[in-house]
């Protein structure tokens, strides 16, 4: 009994908690890329979402309102991205990077306007944070994604928007509208990811708190071959590496000194590269990913 208890409390739940933002973001990216739009702006969406969530939760003392604010912020930023790549047909990677750059500047600027400081927001009181709710929301999102991927007409049409947009268009469904839906979902879910960061995993927002998670989510998506359940497992894998990172701090492996903290810091990123290079390599992306819409 004790060992099961240990596994659950020391590994399972922490891994789940830590993977939660990755899963939200990766699923958001999944629907976006499935509909044919490359999505490297998850990092920016997440960061801005985390900030917005923290701000609103702080002022209203209500984590749910904070959560909604995170979703809204992600949605707004995603809409800017959508206008660029769908309406103006900008190169999607370029526009994605532009959004990430823009997103670096947004939280500090607002932070100055609201709190007169550019670093972290003030600490959130306990009632403004979550104790477990995001995990339930995550469960719902995962189940819905998995279900609609194989069963509903909506999922089928999203898939076609990314595999063969002309076929979808000629069957009377607007590819442009589907791609907007994909972009918005990415924004909303990445915003949820951000809110999870600032309202659940910690209780404030600190500068650049997403720390590359948006890109790790993208790697998880590639690893999961753009399918919901494998992607979720990939996120769990990266969650494990993050937990490993905290567990290894101060631990002595060889010699007398503990492992230098820099090596531990590198861990998630290095593992991402190894996994990407080792397993996936030539995964099959949605066929029409990155191309502009049929019309």
């Amino acid at each position: 009994m004790q060992i099961i208890d240990y596994i659950f409390s020391a590994w399972f739940f922490p891994v789940l908690r830590v993977s939660a933002p990755l899963m939200f973001a990766a699923l958001g990216g999944l629907w976006c890329e499935r509909s044919g739009v490359i999505q490297i702006g998850l990092e920016g969406f997440m960061n801005v979402g985390a900030f917005a969530a923290a701000c609103v939760a702080l002022s209203t003392h209500n984590p749910w309102l904070g959560w909604l604010a995170g979703m809204a912020a992600g949605l707004v930023l995603a809409s800017i991205y959508g206008v660029s790549v769908i309406r103006f047909k900008s190169n999607q990677i370029v526009a994605g990077m532009a959004i990430n750059i823009l997103a670096i500047g947004i939280p500090p600027s607002f932070s100055v306007w609201l709190f007169e400081s550019t670093s972290s927001t003030p600490q959130l009181p306990v009632e403004a944070t979550f104790s477990v709710a995001p995990l339930w929301i995550l469960l719902v999102v995962v189940v819905l994604s998995a279900w609609f991927f194989s069963n509903g007409a909506w999922g089928l049409r999203m898939i076609f928007a990314g595999e063969h947009p002309e076929a979808l268009e000629s069957s009377g469904v607007s590819v442009t509208w589907k791609r907007w839906q994909g972009v918005w979902i990415a924004g909303i879910l990445a915003g949820c990811a951000g809110a999870t960061l600032s309202l659940y995993l910690s209780s404030s927002y600190s500068r650049s708190m997403s720390a590359g998670r948006g890109f790790i989510a993208l790697a998880a998506l590639i690893l999961g071959r753009w399918r919901p359940i494998p992607t979720v497992f990939a996120c769990l894998l990266f969650g494990v590496t993050e937990i490993l990172q905290t567990r290894l701090q101060g631990v002595v492996i060889w010699g007398t000194e503990p492992v230098p903290v820099q090596w531990i810091q590198m861990l998630p990123y290095a593992i991402t590269i190894f996994v990407l290079a080792g397993f996936v390599g030539r995964a099959k992306a949605p066929k029409a990913l990155g191309t502009s819409s049929a019309n």
Binding site: R87, S90, S109, V112, I222, M266, I273, L276
Partner: protein, 369 residues
């Protein structure tokens, strides 16, 4: 010149003019939107514009400082632009310049007694080599394993930062401080500043950067390597069947770009801090992306694109001081918006199309009346 040749040149000219116009429109839009944000924050956009301009070009010292910021941006702009021509997105200039910096410091520390004429060039080569290694790694991963460079470069940015900190802290630490700083490098490695810019720490590195830009542009434009880059960027499959080894091009372009990113160490380490420490970079790597994208991947354009962003960077610093509500982070807003403006191809194409239609209608109207 035959008639055919002349019409061909006219077509090329028209295309170049269109591209220039599109770029300017993009920059203008981005700037305007950024000023709009400033206005929402409560500052007059004209006031903000004035601060930006005087801060960047107001005095020789200001101009010197702008140049000081521009040089690393030229290097990182080149670092992003070269792979961009081959169709690769080098988001890793940040990591490449970090590794380049730490390599040059390692070199300086390893050879503290090296003679004057050799010291700086060799340290520069060490910096280039470090960056080239870090960049080439990305190219190799893509060539051999198909890993997408957007993810590997970003991961390597984080890994590079950690690695450099480790080296600074464990191998060449400065025993006098608690911070993550390396020991000071020997004096013969210091880059001297020019005097006529009133103390701005700018020396011959500027000339070197500009020259490198011009030479590189010429070589890429007229050389066969440049052609191979362009071909792979345009159509991988056709290039491969024509005998161009796309894997080799990927590795070479990433290594070359990474090397130039590493040269930023010349400015920050040899020219300024004289040691390695965290925060040397001030996001040059990231901004290099903006520089290269606005330059549309053309090396020559990197020169004035870097100047533009350096002016923004310098101006943003003063914005923080001279206004209550704006911080230097506004520069990220403006950068992002400028890139979006320049990237919105179809918006500008649509605009030109519309203008052409209007002119057409006017001409038709005049002809019939």
């Amino acid at each position: 010149m035959t008639n055919g040749f002349r019409s061909s040149m006219l077509i090329s000219l028209r295309m170049s003019l269109r591209n220039i116009a599109k770029t300017f429109l993009g920059i203008g839009t981005g700037l305007a939107l950024g000023l709009l944000v400033a206005w929402f924050a409560g500052e007059s956009p004209f006031h903000v514009l004035k601060i930006l301009l005087t801060s960047a070009f107001g005095s020789s010292y200001s101009f010197g400082m702008t140049l000081f910021y521009a040089v690393p941006l030229i290097f990182t702009g080149i670092a992003v632009a070269i792979p961009y021509r081959a169709g690769l997105f080098n988001i890793g200039a940040e990591g490449q310049l970090t590794i380049g910096s730490i390599c040059s410091v390692l070199f300086c520390v390893a050879f503290p007694d090296l003679g004057t004429p050799w010291a700086i060039p060799l340290a520069a080569i060490a910096a280039f080599a470090g960056g080239a290694l870090w960049g080439g790694l990305v190219g190799w991963l893509k060539a051999r394993r198909g890993s997408h460079e957007v993810i590997t470069t970003i991961m390597l940015n984080f890994i590079g930062a950690a690695l450099a900190s480790y080296i600074a802290l464990y191998w060449i630490k400065d025993p006098m401080t608690q911070d993550v700083e390396s020991i000071r490098i020997a004096p013969q490695y210091f880059l001297k500043a020019w005097n006529f810019l009133e103390g701005a720490p700018i020396g011959w590195v500027v000339a070197f950067a500009v020259l490198a830009c011009l030479v590189l542009d010429w070589v890429l434009h007229f050389g066969s390597f440049g052609y191979s880059l362009k071909a792979v960027g345009s159509n991988e499959r056709a290039s491969e069947l024509a005998g161009i080894r796309k894997e080799k091009i990927w590795i070479q372009s990433m290594a070359l770009g990474g090397g130039f990113a590493g040269l930023v160490g010349l400015v920050t380490v040899l020219g300024h801090a004289h040691r390695y420490k965290i925060g040397l970079s001030a996001d040059f790597g990231f901004m290099g992306i903006a520089v290269a994208l606005v330059a549309r991947g053309r090396i020559l354009n990197v020169l004035w694109s870097a100047l533009l962003f350096a002016a923004l960077q310098k101006g943003a610093g003063d914005l923080e001081i001279e206004t209550d509500t704006l911080t230097r982070d506004l520069v990220y807003w403006i950068q992002g918006l400028i890139i979006l403006g320049v990237a919105a191809e179809s918006m500008w194409d649509g605009l030109f199309h519309f203008i052409r239609k209007v002119i057409h209608q006017i001409r038709r109207g005049r002809a019939t009346s």
